[in-house]
Amino acid sequence: MKTGKNFPVLYWVVVAVTLALGAVGFYWRLSAGHRMANYGELIVWGLWVATYIFFVGISAGSFVIAALVYVFDIERFRPIAPLALLVSLITLPVGLLNIWVDLGHMERFYELYVRPSLVSIMSVEVWLYTAFLIVLVAIIWLEFFRKAASEEEQRSGRLAVRVLSAIGLVLVILFEGAGGALYGVAAARPAWHGGLFPLLFILSAMVVGTALLAGIYAFFSSERGTERHRQVMVDLGKLMLGLVVMEVLFTFSEYSIAFYGSVPSEIEPLKVILTGPFWYVFWIGQVGLGMVLPIVLLVWSRTREEPLWIGVAGLGVVIATFAMRLNIVIPALALPELEGLINATPSPRITTSYVPSSMEWFVAIGTVGLALALFAIGYSLLPVEPQQEKEVSHG
């Protein structure tokens, strides 16, 4: 059976364990509310918010790859376009699950639809996600399920996919840009405030989308070993290299400008990132796995044409992006708005340190497990493998 071949027993063991942890975490969340969470009055957002922007970024980024094919006819990525759609479809709802459990009143999420504020980036985001999901489901239906009876119908189907993908592309750029703006507009948080965030979000979504697809395609495709597989991997590698280099530039410009300006409220959070107790999230995660490793693997002539190494580079970048998400959300909040505020009325919730609680970890890990499970199911149910795809006429 195909599933068995692509997804070894170990994969299912991981899925089972992570889902079990997730079930425990979810039960705790539902029974104890937020009491078992470790975010507090100062660091108000934690692991779940980081996990949410991580997954949503993947959804946007992998959709961009699909759009390259469906909108811009970049044929070299056609073999992975269906895969990209599947990844996009799974990661968006899974990301939203993380932000849903983060709400103080989960049962009121419908308020976002019935009384949205048009000036709040958060509600605009929710509407953009919803619109995108509808578009994405329509594309997937047209691509995977619709049986065209005639040449004519096939053509109109392709046109519809093209138009919908173009709309989808605009939507993902908007929601990633808005995702960055959600932080960028926060004038009260100097480390977030600024115009770079929306661009950074769009870029890092593309980086992580490309990287995850490279990782999946390298390790799960049943085309492994064929020339076409190698070619797709090499092309993905090149794209990833370019994007990672841009991310290096962005990161450098963000940090160097803040340090040059040396306004304490701006550099304190950065200092926490670089030399605080979680320095390794930046140095090993973001720099090591997200910059050094992929650049070495994708530049060195011995590895840059090897699908396996390109896949390793991709997985490194995926982990690094998660590290980056943590560093975006948490350290900027660790700076009290007014000096001395945290000692005014001591409370364990009013603190500048934050380590996620087991409930938070379990829920986040559970959502990863859910993504893995949905992926395996989607992979076996949908014709994402290139050879099963209907022949596409190259125009």
């Binding site: 009143h105 009260a188 001395g340 919730r349």
Partner: protein, 242 residues
């Protein structure tokens, strides 16, 4: 020598503010401009305001509508302590309002930034937007959690916004963001905010800035005042005298 407001001999500041309040309530809500004035030269950092607010609003651990920030400045032997009470500033341009995705928080016609507990989804975006750390999230905790019984003072109803609410299970205001509302429910009953009543050093004043005869107007006319983070343009309605 700090300026002592002109009050007739028979009158003290509390009585005078009470009179000011009565006059303000006779006006249309939109014509009132509630402000708080805090005299830093008189604050002794006793935290009576913090405690009176706790008692009035029955706020749980971690949820503090008003706090007194205490800081040491200088090095030994030239050390001095400075105290800064910090309620919600009821900003005229409140950055916490626009970010709310469901319009659960807004500046009402009296200029007080209020929260509708029945709508707030608890996303905490407003907390990231407030430059004064004035908002808290109600995690559903209790001071007497690990004792045989949650103390009655914690389960007594609050009358915030004039609604009788008991914190229980996960009902609002648990799971909501909460903040100082200048005790709007007391104002409408003709009472001063709790922290004003109970300030030991008589450092806190409250009233209608649109009334030139009010004590707060007089203080702000006669004394040098400043507001926190004025450069942000939030236009706080809490003034500090120094």
């Amino acid at each position: 020598m700090p300026y002592v407001p002109v009050v007739s001999e028979m009158e003290n500041a509390l009585v005078r503010m009470q009179e000011d309040l009565k006059r303000a309530l006779e006006k249309l809500p939109s014509e009132r401009r509630w402000v708080m004035v805090i005299d830093l030269t008189k604050c002794v950092a006793c935290d009576a305001c913090t405690v009176s607010c706790k008692a009035e609003k029955k706020t749980p651990p971690g949820v503090n509508y008003t706090v007194v920030i205490k800081e040491e400045v200088g090095t030994y032997p030239n050390v001095r302590e400075v105290y800064l009470p910090r309620p919600c500033m009821q900003c005229d341009n409140p950055p916490c309002v626009d970010v709310c995705p469901v319009n659960a928080t807004w500046k009402n016609e009296e200029g007080i930034v209020v929260i509708d507990y029945d709508v707030c989804i608890g996303c905490r975006y407003c907390m990231t937007a407030c430059p004064y750390g004035a908002r808290s999230f109600d995690f559903g905790e209790w001071y007497t959690e690990e004792t045989p019984m949650i103390a009655p003072y914690e389960t007594a109803p609050t009358f915030e916004y004039g609604e009788e609410r008991v914190r229980r299970n996960r009902r609002s205001p648990i799971g909501n963001v909460r903040k100082c509302n200048f005790c709007i429910e007391r104002l409408h009953e003709g009472l001063l905010p709790a922290c004003i009543n109970d300030c030991l050093g008589r450092a806190r004043y409250f009233g209608d800035l649109n009334d030139p005869d009010s004590l707060v107007s007089e203080l702000l006319r006669e004394r040098y005042s400043f507001r926190l983070k004025e450069d942000l343009g939030t236009e706080p309605k809490v003034f500090y005298l120094s």
